[in-house]
Protein backbone atom coordinates (compact mmCIF):
# COMPACT_ATOMS: atom_id res chain seq x y z
CA UNK A 1 0.00 0.00 0.00
CA UNK A 2 2.79 2.40 0.91
CA UNK A 3 4.58 1.40 -2.23
CA UNK A 4 1.49 2.22 -4.24
CA UNK A 5 1.18 5.62 -2.61
CA UNK A 6 4.84 6.19 -3.35
CA UNK A 7 4.38 5.26 -6.96
CA UNK A 8 1.17 7.11 -7.61
CA UNK A 9 1.57 9.93 -5.12
CA UNK A 10 2.89 12.49 -7.61
CA UNK A 11 0.14 11.67 -10.12
CA UNK A 12 -2.49 11.96 -7.44
CA UNK A 13 -1.10 15.32 -6.36
CA UNK A 14 -1.21 16.69 -9.92
CA UNK A 15 -4.73 15.31 -10.08
CA UNK A 16 -5.71 17.19 -6.90
CA UNK A 17 -4.12 20.31 -8.30
CA UNK A 18 -5.92 20.05 -11.60
CA UNK A 19 -9.25 19.42 -9.91
CA UNK A 20 -8.76 22.54 -7.81
CA UNK A 21 -7.66 24.52 -10.86
CA UNK A 22 -10.56 23.47 -13.08
CA UNK A 23 -12.97 24.18 -10.26
CA UNK A 24 -11.59 27.66 -9.63
CA UNK A 25 -11.44 28.62 -13.29
CA UNK A 26 -14.83 27.09 -13.99
CA UNK A 27 -16.49 28.84 -11.05
CA UNK A 28 -14.84 32.16 -11.82
CA UNK A 29 -15.72 31.88 -15.51
CA UNK A 30 -19.27 30.87 -14.69
CA UNK A 31 -19.71 33.77 -12.26
CA UNK A 32 -18.36 36.36 -14.69
CA UNK A 33 -20.34 35.01 -17.63
CA UNK A 34 -23.44 34.58 -15.50
CA UNK A 35 -23.14 38.16 -14.30
CA UNK A 36 -22.70 39.46 -17.85
CA UNK A 37 -25.71 37.45 -19.02
CA UNK A 38 -27.79 38.81 -16.18
CA UNK A 39 -26.73 42.39 -16.94
CA UNK A 40 -27.54 41.88 -20.63
CA UNK A 41 -30.91 40.45 -19.73
CA UNK A 42 -31.70 43.13 -17.18
CA UNK A 43 -30.65 46.15 -19.20
CA UNK A 44 -30.68 44.84 -22.79
CA UNK A 45 -33.55 44.61 -25.26
CA UNK A 46 -36.03 41.97 -24.23
CA UNK A 47 -36.58 40.25 -27.53
CA UNK A 48 -33.07 40.07 -28.99
CA UNK A 49 -31.27 39.36 -25.75
CA UNK A 50 -33.82 38.15 -23.22
CA UNK A 51 -35.21 35.23 -25.17
CA UNK A 52 -31.93 33.74 -26.39
CA UNK A 53 -30.60 33.84 -22.83
CA UNK A 54 -33.73 32.16 -21.56
CA UNK A 55 -33.36 29.43 -24.20
CA UNK A 56 -29.69 29.03 -23.25
CA UNK A 57 -30.54 28.62 -19.59
CA UNK A 58 -33.28 26.10 -20.34
CA UNK A 59 -30.96 24.09 -22.57
CA UNK A 60 -28.13 23.96 -20.05
CA UNK A 61 -30.38 23.18 -17.13
CA UNK A 62 -32.33 20.54 -19.02
CA UNK A 63 -29.43 18.47 -20.30
CA UNK A 64 -26.77 16.49 -18.40
CA UNK A 65 -23.38 18.12 -18.03
CA UNK A 66 -21.75 15.00 -19.44
CA UNK A 67 -23.70 15.36 -22.68
CA UNK A 68 -22.86 19.07 -22.90
CA UNK A 69 -19.19 18.25 -22.53
CA UNK A 70 -19.42 15.64 -25.27
CA UNK A 71 -21.12 18.13 -27.58
CA UNK A 72 -18.41 20.69 -26.88
CA UNK A 73 -15.40 18.39 -27.02
CA UNK A 74 -16.36 15.89 -29.71
CA UNK A 75 -18.86 18.00 -31.60
CA UNK A 76 -16.96 21.27 -31.41
CA UNK A 77 -14.35 20.38 -34.06
CA UNK A 78 -17.15 19.86 -36.58
CA UNK A 79 -17.96 23.56 -36.39
CA UNK A 80 -14.31 24.55 -36.17
CA UNK A 81 -14.02 24.78 -32.39
CA UNK A 82 -10.96 22.65 -31.75
CA UNK A 83 -10.02 22.63 -28.09
CA UNK A 84 -7.71 20.56 -25.93
CA UNK A 85 -9.32 18.57 -23.17
CA UNK A 86 -8.43 20.98 -20.37
CA UNK A 87 -9.64 24.22 -22.02
CA UNK A 88 -12.73 22.41 -23.26
CA UNK A 89 -13.41 21.20 -19.74
CA UNK A 90 -12.97 24.62 -18.18
CA UNK A 91 -15.08 26.24 -20.89
CA UNK A 92 -17.75 23.57 -20.42
CA UNK A 93 -17.81 24.14 -16.65
CA UNK A 94 -18.06 27.90 -17.15
CA UNK A 95 -20.87 27.65 -19.68
CA UNK A 96 -22.70 25.21 -17.42
CA UNK A 97 -22.16 27.31 -14.30
CA UNK A 98 -23.14 30.54 -16.06
CA UNK A 99 -26.67 29.28 -16.74
CA UNK A 100 -27.26 28.51 -13.07
CA UNK A 101 -25.42 31.54 -11.74
CA UNK A 102 -27.37 33.90 -13.97
CA UNK A 103 -30.65 32.54 -12.58
CA UNK A 104 -29.43 32.90 -9.01
CA UNK A 105 -28.30 36.44 -9.71
CA UNK A 106 -31.63 37.26 -11.34
CA UNK A 107 -33.53 36.16 -8.25
CA UNK A 108 -31.06 38.11 -6.11
CA UNK A 109 -31.39 41.33 -8.09
CA UNK A 110 -35.18 40.97 -8.14
CA UNK A 111 -35.11 40.88 -4.36
CA UNK A 112 -33.37 44.27 -4.09
CA UNK A 113 -36.02 46.72 -2.83
CA UNK A 114 -37.16 49.00 -5.65
CA UNK A 115 -37.11 52.01 -3.34
CA UNK A 116 -33.35 51.74 -2.85
CA UNK A 117 -32.72 51.85 -6.58
CA UNK A 118 -35.15 54.73 -7.04
CA UNK A 119 -33.51 56.61 -4.19
CA UNK A 120 -30.07 56.06 -5.71
CA UNK A 121 -31.32 57.32 -9.05
CA UNK A 122 -33.03 60.28 -7.39
CA UNK A 123 -29.80 61.47 -5.80
CA UNK A 124 -28.18 61.23 -9.20
CA UNK A 125 -25.94 58.18 -8.97
CA UNK A 126 -24.90 56.90 -12.40
CA UNK A 127 -26.16 53.48 -13.53
CA UNK A 128 -22.88 51.68 -13.00
CA UNK A 129 -22.51 52.97 -9.48
CA UNK A 130 -26.05 51.86 -8.70
CA UNK A 131 -25.23 48.34 -9.82
CA UNK A 132 -21.89 48.10 -8.01
CA UNK A 133 -22.56 50.03 -4.84
CA UNK A 134 -26.28 49.48 -4.23
CA UNK A 135 -27.60 46.45 -6.03
CA UNK A 136 -24.63 44.07 -5.69
CA UNK A 137 -24.09 44.39 -1.93
CA UNK A 138 -27.80 44.14 -1.19
CA UNK A 139 -28.20 41.24 -3.60
CA UNK A 140 -25.34 39.33 -1.99
CA UNK A 141 -27.27 38.96 1.26
CA UNK A 142 -30.02 36.91 -0.33
CA UNK A 143 -28.07 35.25 -3.14
CA UNK A 144 -24.85 34.24 -1.44
CA UNK A 145 -26.07 30.95 0.07
CA UNK A 146 -27.35 29.82 -3.33
CA UNK A 147 -24.13 30.94 -5.04
CA UNK A 148 -21.98 29.00 -2.57
CA UNK A 149 -24.29 26.04 -2.93
CA UNK A 150 -23.80 26.00 -6.64
CA UNK A 151 -20.06 26.46 -6.33
CA UNK A 152 -20.11 23.27 -4.24
CA UNK A 153 -22.15 21.47 -6.86
CA UNK A 154 -19.51 22.52 -9.41
CA UNK A 155 -16.75 20.83 -7.39
CA UNK A 156 -18.53 17.58 -7.95
CA UNK A 157 -19.07 18.22 -11.64
CA UNK A 158 -15.32 18.53 -12.16
CA UNK A 159 -14.95 14.74 -11.94
CA UNK A 160 -16.99 14.48 -15.12
CA UNK A 161 -14.10 16.15 -16.96
CA UNK A 162 -12.29 12.82 -16.57
CA UNK A 163 -14.62 11.47 -19.26
CA UNK A 164 -13.01 13.77 -21.84
CA UNK A 165 -9.53 12.80 -20.59
CA UNK A 166 -8.70 15.81 -18.44
CA UNK A 167 -6.12 14.24 -16.10
CA UNK A 168 -7.74 15.47 -12.89
CA UNK A 169 -8.08 13.43 -9.71
CA UNK A 170 -10.76 11.09 -11.00
CA UNK A 171 -8.77 10.34 -14.13
CA UNK A 172 -5.66 9.64 -12.08
CA UNK A 173 -7.43 7.28 -9.71
CA UNK A 174 -9.03 5.47 -12.62
CA UNK A 175 -5.62 5.02 -14.21
CA UNK A 176 -4.31 3.81 -10.88
CA UNK A 177 -7.16 1.33 -10.57
CA UNK A 178 -6.76 -0.09 -14.04
CA UNK A 179 -3.01 -0.49 -13.64
CA UNK A 180 -3.00 -2.10 -10.21
CA UNK A 181 -6.45 -3.74 -10.01
CA UNK A 182 -6.61 -2.22 -6.58
CA UNK A 183 -9.96 -0.53 -6.02
CA UNK A 184 -10.40 0.03 -2.32
CA UNK A 185 -7.61 2.49 -1.63
CA UNK A 186 -8.03 4.70 -4.73
CA UNK A 187 -11.77 5.06 -4.27
CA UNK A 188 -11.35 5.76 -0.57
CA UNK A 189 -8.77 8.46 -1.30
CA UNK A 190 -11.11 9.97 -3.85
CA UNK A 191 -14.15 9.94 -1.58
CA UNK A 192 -12.22 11.40 1.36
CA UNK A 193 -10.66 14.09 -0.80
CA UNK A 194 -14.02 15.31 -2.04
CA UNK A 195 -15.66 15.10 1.31
CA UNK A 196 -12.90 17.26 2.75
CA UNK A 197 -12.89 19.61 -0.23
CA UNK A 198 -16.63 20.26 -0.02
CA UNK A 199 -16.46 20.62 3.76
CA UNK A 200 -13.78 23.30 3.44
CA UNK A 201 -15.73 25.23 0.81
CA UNK A 202 -18.95 25.16 2.78
CA UNK A 203 -17.13 26.38 5.92
CA UNK A 204 -15.58 29.15 3.86
CA UNK A 205 -18.99 29.94 2.37
CA UNK A 206 -20.53 30.28 5.80
CA UNK A 207 -17.80 32.72 6.79
CA UNK A 208 -18.33 34.71 3.62
CA UNK A 209 -22.04 34.83 4.39
CA UNK A 210 -21.37 36.19 7.85
CA UNK A 211 -19.13 38.80 6.30
CA UNK A 212 -21.85 40.03 3.97
CA UNK A 213 -24.69 39.91 6.47
CA UNK A 214 -22.63 41.33 9.32
CA UNK A 215 -24.42 44.65 9.38
CA UNK A 216 -27.81 42.91 9.63
CA UNK A 217 -26.79 41.02 12.73
CA UNK A 218 -25.41 44.03 14.55
CA UNK A 219 -28.69 45.89 14.37
CA UNK A 220 -30.81 43.19 15.93
Amino acid sequence: MLEMLHRYGPDLLTGFGLTLLTWMLGTAGGLVLGFLLEMARRFGPRFWVGWPIRAYVEFIRGTPFLVQLFVLYYGGPLIGLRLDALPAGVLGLSLYGAAYFTEILRAGFDAVPKGQIEAARAIGLPGRTIVWRIMLPVMMVSALPALVNFAIILTKETVILSMITVPEIMFQTQTMMSETFEFVLPILILALFFWGFVEVISRFGRRLERRFTHYLLEES
Binding site: E58, F70, G75, V159, S162, W195
Partner: protein, 215 residues
Protein backbone atom coordinates in the same frame (compact mmCIF):
# COMPACT_ATOMS: atom_id res chain seq x y z
CA UNK B 1 -22.09 19.32 -42.82
CA UNK B 2 -24.76 18.83 -40.22
CA UNK B 3 -26.55 15.60 -41.03
CA UNK B 4 -30.11 15.32 -39.86
CA UNK B 5 -30.32 11.94 -41.48
CA UNK B 6 -27.93 10.43 -38.93
CA UNK B 7 -30.20 11.64 -36.18
CA UNK B 8 -33.34 10.30 -37.81
CA UNK B 9 -31.73 6.94 -38.49
CA UNK B 10 -30.51 6.49 -34.94
CA UNK B 11 -33.44 8.00 -33.10
CA UNK B 12 -35.24 4.67 -32.48
CA UNK B 13 -32.10 3.23 -30.88
CA UNK B 14 -31.71 6.32 -28.70
CA UNK B 15 -35.36 6.17 -27.69
CA UNK B 16 -34.91 2.52 -26.78
CA UNK B 17 -32.01 3.48 -24.54
CA UNK B 18 -34.15 6.23 -23.02
CA UNK B 19 -36.12 3.47 -21.31
CA UNK B 20 -33.17 2.84 -19.02
CA UNK B 21 -32.80 6.52 -18.31
CA UNK B 22 -36.45 6.64 -17.30
CA UNK B 23 -36.30 3.39 -15.36
CA UNK B 24 -33.32 4.54 -13.29
CA UNK B 25 -34.83 7.96 -12.70
CA UNK B 26 -38.23 6.65 -11.64
CA UNK B 27 -36.94 3.88 -9.39
CA UNK B 28 -34.24 6.17 -8.00
CA UNK B 29 -36.81 8.83 -7.24
CA UNK B 30 -39.19 6.38 -5.54
CA UNK B 31 -36.38 4.99 -3.42
CA UNK B 32 -35.11 8.48 -2.71
CA UNK B 33 -38.51 9.71 -1.52
CA UNK B 34 -39.12 6.77 0.80
CA UNK B 35 -35.62 6.76 2.24
CA UNK B 36 -35.59 10.56 2.28
CA UNK B 37 -38.74 10.63 4.41
CA UNK B 38 -37.17 8.20 6.88
CA UNK B 39 -33.95 10.22 6.95
CA UNK B 40 -35.89 13.39 7.50
CA UNK B 41 -37.72 11.77 10.43
CA UNK B 42 -34.34 10.77 11.83
CA UNK B 43 -32.96 14.28 11.35
CA UNK B 44 -35.90 15.76 13.27
CA UNK B 45 -35.91 13.09 15.94
CA UNK B 46 -35.27 13.81 19.62
CA UNK B 47 -32.52 11.18 19.80
CA UNK B 48 -29.11 12.69 19.31
CA UNK B 49 -27.63 9.51 17.86
CA UNK B 50 -30.27 9.36 15.13
CA UNK B 51 -29.80 13.05 14.31
CA UNK B 52 -26.04 12.62 14.10
CA UNK B 53 -26.37 9.57 11.88
CA UNK B 54 -28.73 11.37 9.51
CA UNK B 55 -26.40 14.37 9.43
CA UNK B 56 -23.43 12.17 8.57
CA UNK B 57 -25.38 10.40 5.85
CA UNK B 58 -26.47 13.65 4.22
CA UNK B 59 -23.03 15.18 4.46
CA UNK B 60 -21.44 12.12 2.86
CA UNK B 61 -23.88 11.64 0.01
CA UNK B 62 -24.00 15.35 -0.77
CA UNK B 63 -20.27 15.80 -0.39
CA UNK B 64 -19.00 13.00 -2.61
CA UNK B 65 -19.62 13.15 -6.37
CA UNK B 66 -22.18 10.67 -7.62
CA UNK B 67 -19.67 9.33 -10.12
CA UNK B 68 -17.49 8.23 -7.22
CA UNK B 69 -20.43 6.79 -5.31
CA UNK B 70 -21.28 4.71 -8.35
CA UNK B 71 -17.73 3.40 -8.53
CA UNK B 72 -17.85 2.56 -4.83
CA UNK B 73 -21.05 0.57 -5.28
CA UNK B 74 -19.78 -1.16 -8.38
CA UNK B 75 -16.19 -1.94 -7.43
CA UNK B 76 -16.13 -1.88 -3.66
CA UNK B 77 -19.18 -3.97 -2.80
CA UNK B 78 -17.85 -7.07 -4.62
CA UNK B 79 -14.61 -6.70 -2.64
CA UNK B 80 -16.55 -7.18 0.59
CA UNK B 81 -18.43 -10.09 -0.93
CA UNK B 82 -21.64 -8.44 -2.13
CA UNK B 83 -22.20 -8.94 -5.83
CA UNK B 84 -24.77 -6.63 -7.32
CA UNK B 85 -25.78 -6.50 -10.96
CA UNK B 86 -24.93 -3.15 -12.60
CA UNK B 87 -28.53 -2.00 -12.93
CA UNK B 88 -29.26 -2.68 -9.27
CA UNK B 89 -26.05 -0.94 -8.23
CA UNK B 90 -26.98 2.07 -10.35
CA UNK B 91 -30.55 2.37 -9.09
CA UNK B 92 -29.44 1.83 -5.50
CA UNK B 93 -26.73 4.47 -5.63
CA UNK B 94 -28.82 7.04 -7.46
CA UNK B 95 -31.61 6.43 -4.94
CA UNK B 96 -29.30 6.70 -1.92
CA UNK B 97 -27.92 9.96 -3.24
CA UNK B 98 -31.37 11.36 -4.05
CA UNK B 99 -32.51 10.43 -0.54
CA UNK B 100 -29.89 12.75 0.95
CA UNK B 101 -31.08 15.72 -1.10
CA UNK B 102 -34.78 14.94 -0.74
CA UNK B 103 -34.52 14.51 3.02
CA UNK B 104 -33.21 18.07 3.25
CA UNK B 105 -36.04 19.34 1.04
CA UNK B 106 -38.60 17.54 3.21
CA UNK B 107 -36.97 18.80 6.39
CA UNK B 108 -37.30 22.35 5.17
CA UNK B 109 -40.94 21.86 4.24
CA UNK B 110 -41.81 20.19 7.53
CA UNK B 111 -40.26 23.10 9.39
CA UNK B 112 -42.62 25.33 7.44
CA UNK B 113 -45.68 23.51 8.77
CA UNK B 114 -47.05 25.33 11.82
CA UNK B 115 -45.91 23.62 15.04
CA UNK B 116 -49.47 23.72 16.38
CA UNK B 117 -50.56 21.05 13.91
CA UNK B 118 -48.14 18.47 15.24
CA UNK B 119 -49.06 19.39 18.80
CA UNK B 120 -52.77 19.16 18.03
CA UNK B 121 -52.33 15.78 16.32
CA UNK B 122 -50.48 14.39 19.32
CA UNK B 123 -53.00 15.96 21.70
CA UNK B 124 -55.95 14.16 20.07
CA UNK B 125 -54.04 10.92 20.51
CA UNK B 126 -52.49 10.28 17.11
CA UNK B 127 -49.51 7.98 17.21
CA UNK B 128 -46.24 9.48 15.95
CA UNK B 129 -46.57 7.27 12.88
CA UNK B 130 -50.02 8.66 12.09
CA UNK B 131 -48.72 12.14 12.70
CA UNK B 132 -46.08 11.61 10.03
CA UNK B 133 -48.12 9.70 7.49
CA UNK B 134 -51.34 11.71 7.77
CA UNK B 135 -50.32 15.19 8.82
CA UNK B 136 -46.68 16.03 8.20
CA UNK B 137 -45.66 14.17 5.03
CA UNK B 138 -48.65 15.03 2.82
CA UNK B 139 -48.21 18.71 3.58
CA UNK B 140 -44.44 18.54 3.26
CA UNK B 141 -44.78 16.97 -0.18
CA UNK B 142 -47.09 19.80 -1.21
CA UNK B 143 -44.96 22.60 0.19
CA UNK B 144 -41.77 21.08 -1.15
CA UNK B 145 -43.17 20.23 -4.56
CA UNK B 146 -41.18 22.79 -6.58
CA UNK B 147 -37.94 21.68 -4.94
CA UNK B 148 -38.85 18.00 -5.36
CA UNK B 149 -39.51 18.50 -9.08
CA UNK B 150 -36.15 20.24 -9.23
CA UNK B 151 -34.50 17.20 -7.65
CA UNK B 152 -36.28 14.92 -10.10
CA UNK B 153 -34.84 16.87 -13.03
CA UNK B 154 -31.40 16.65 -11.46
CA UNK B 155 -31.96 12.92 -11.07
CA UNK B 156 -32.74 12.44 -14.76
CA UNK B 157 -29.53 14.23 -15.60
CA UNK B 158 -27.57 12.32 -12.97
CA UNK B 159 -28.67 9.10 -14.62
CA UNK B 160 -26.25 9.93 -17.44
CA UNK B 161 -23.44 9.04 -15.05
CA UNK B 162 -24.44 5.40 -14.76
CA UNK B 163 -22.61 4.89 -18.05
CA UNK B 164 -19.55 4.22 -15.89
CA UNK B 165 -21.04 1.00 -14.57
CA UNK B 166 -21.87 -0.11 -18.08
CA UNK B 167 -25.59 0.50 -18.40
CA UNK B 168 -26.61 1.45 -21.90
CA UNK B 169 -28.89 4.44 -21.36
CA UNK B 170 -29.12 7.54 -23.54
CA UNK B 171 -25.60 8.84 -22.97
CA UNK B 172 -23.88 5.48 -23.32
CA UNK B 173 -25.89 4.65 -26.40
CA UNK B 174 -25.06 7.97 -28.02
CA UNK B 175 -21.39 7.39 -27.21
CA UNK B 176 -21.41 4.12 -29.07
CA UNK B 177 -23.47 5.45 -31.99
CA UNK B 178 -21.21 8.49 -32.26
CA UNK B 179 -18.05 6.43 -32.27
CA UNK B 180 -19.37 4.14 -34.99
CA UNK B 181 -20.79 6.87 -37.24
CA UNK B 182 -18.27 9.63 -36.41
CA UNK B 183 -21.24 12.00 -36.18
CA UNK B 184 -20.40 13.30 -32.72
CA UNK B 185 -22.11 16.66 -32.88
CA UNK B 186 -25.39 15.37 -34.31
CA UNK B 187 -25.71 12.40 -31.98
CA UNK B 188 -24.78 14.23 -28.78
CA UNK B 189 -27.07 17.11 -29.66
CA UNK B 190 -29.88 14.61 -30.27
CA UNK B 191 -29.15 13.07 -26.86
CA UNK B 192 -29.17 16.53 -25.30
CA UNK B 193 -32.56 17.34 -26.80
CA UNK B 194 -33.92 13.99 -25.67
CA UNK B 195 -32.98 14.85 -22.08
CA UNK B 196 -34.37 18.32 -22.56
CA UNK B 197 -37.69 16.87 -23.75
CA UNK B 198 -37.91 14.54 -20.74
CA UNK B 199 -37.13 17.36 -18.35
CA UNK B 200 -39.55 19.81 -19.94
CA UNK B 201 -42.30 17.22 -19.53
CA UNK B 202 -41.38 16.75 -15.86
CA UNK B 203 -41.27 20.50 -15.29
CA UNK B 204 -44.67 20.96 -16.96
CA UNK B 205 -46.17 18.10 -14.93
CA UNK B 206 -44.75 19.67 -11.79
CA UNK B 207 -46.32 23.04 -12.56
CA UNK B 208 -49.66 21.38 -13.29
CA UNK B 209 -49.54 19.43 -10.04
CA UNK B 210 -48.59 22.57 -8.17
CA UNK B 211 -51.64 24.40 -9.47
CA UNK B 212 -53.85 21.42 -8.64
CA UNK B 213 -52.58 21.14 -5.10
CA UNK B 214 -52.83 24.78 -4.12
CA UNK B 215 -56.47 25.32 -3.33
Amino acid sequence: MFSFQTIVENLPTLLGAARYTLLISVLGCAQGLILGALLCAAALSKRTALRRAAGLYVSFFRGVPLLIQLLVAYYLLPVVGINVPPLAAAVLTVGLCAAAYLSEVLRGSINAIPKGQAEAALAIGMTPRDLWVRVLLPQALKIGLPAIVNELILLVKASSLVTVVGIVEITRMSQSIASSTYRYLEIYLAAAFLYLAINLVIAAAGRLLERRLTV
